[in-house]
Amino acid sequence: MAKTQVMFTFPQELIREPIIYSLGQQFKIVTNIRRADVTENKGWVILELEGEEKDIEQGIAWVTSKGVRVDPVVGDVVEG
């Protein structure tokens, strides 16, 4: 089992979609929300994902393909 922490940023058109629920259901990932701020026109969620490494990888790829921005919770690691 692997664990990873990520930040999801949702565009307005996805606010009403149960993305995190579907992520858990479709990819057998345990999602654990730690911090979030979601309003009617945008939102971000910081959460921990736990599951098989390949499921997490595929799950993140699916979330990204839906139009959610996925970032490492530590922010950008590459610096100048």
């Binding site: 922490q5 730690r34 911090r35 910081i46 970032d71 922010g75 950008d76 590459v78 610096e79 100048g80």
Partner: protein, 407 residues
Amino acid sequence: MSFARALRCRKCGQEYPLQPVNLCDFCLSPLEVSYDYKAMARVLSREKLAGGPLSMWRYRDMLPVEGKEVDIGTGLTPLVKADNLGRELGLDRLYIKNDCLNPTYSFKDRAVSVAVSKAREFGFETVACASTGNLAASVAAHAAKANMGAYVFVPSNVEVGKLVGTAIYNPVLIKVDGSYDDVNRLCAEVARRYNWGFININLRPYYAEGSKTLGYEVAEQLGWRAPDCVVAPAASGLLFTRIWKGLDELAMLGLIEPINTHMYIAQAAGSSPIVNAFNAGSVHIHPVTPDTIVKSIAIGNPADGYYALMVARQSGGGACAVDDGEAIAGMQLLAQTEGIFAEAAGGVVVGALRKLAASGVIKRSELTVASITGAGPRTQEILADIVRPFSVQPTLKSVEESIGTPV
């Protein structure tokens, strides 16, 4: 012995032992070093600090390092009165803090010196980072000095020439075939997998503290006072917050008067998530995909962005973005007025200064410090078109025909 006593979550206040960790287990927010300031105040005085080594390590009592530091001669860089540039911009009391003059030519040496010192204390044999320039060189240089291994990850689109200043120290250089975002994700994973001191991940709380020395030096060099205004570039936002923390600590310790410094963030318009949030009145930094030639500060998802935003707001400061053309013009103006060849991030600072002064946000009489964080030669390719020499024959006649009679 240092006066550091714990790591504390910047969001929820949860405390942790001084270990190589950077995130709060509860809310996944960044951790920072907290100190026993009462005990620190008892041993510190202006005289003691001024009598210390001629480097950033004169402030070691205010840093979280226990053992011998890994020092390659960083800090105590010049604070120069910039009368020529000030005249151009309409500022009577303008100073440049010139951090181009650190051993690897950028302010990163301050942060890395502390981070690598801690890495050695923690028993790591290897340090690592992901960088396209300044951080990479600094990590590789400090690892060499500390006899430690170094792994440096770079995106595949970085020009080889930009890495000469890193390769000379002989780290393991790893070019990642993927986008900037891919490198970010990979490095977050690598940091979890290997027992390395990853400079801006698990060592980040300590890395951050080194940057405070820039604030300390400015105050000491001004004769133990804080400036009225500071203009500094922001990438991850970490340096910006730590200049403020440095000034704030000096005041808290009674070494300077209470501060009323206005902090101004400068970013490149093609990568300005913090400026965007400031202008929108938002408390959330919306990540962006960087698109600017100012690579050294092109961070789309800044780790300390929120905290930098708070410092700008709470200090009564501001935020200003300048486009690539303005950044280049800023580099040229700084070089041609003060003789300082900064990297493009310095051009962003000068461009921001120009706008802030012209709009009256920074007033002519205010004592203003502009933080120049890295030297120009590492990224000189963005200036290739300024080299337009006169071509002459080796005769006086030819010279005079080309340039006219010199006055």
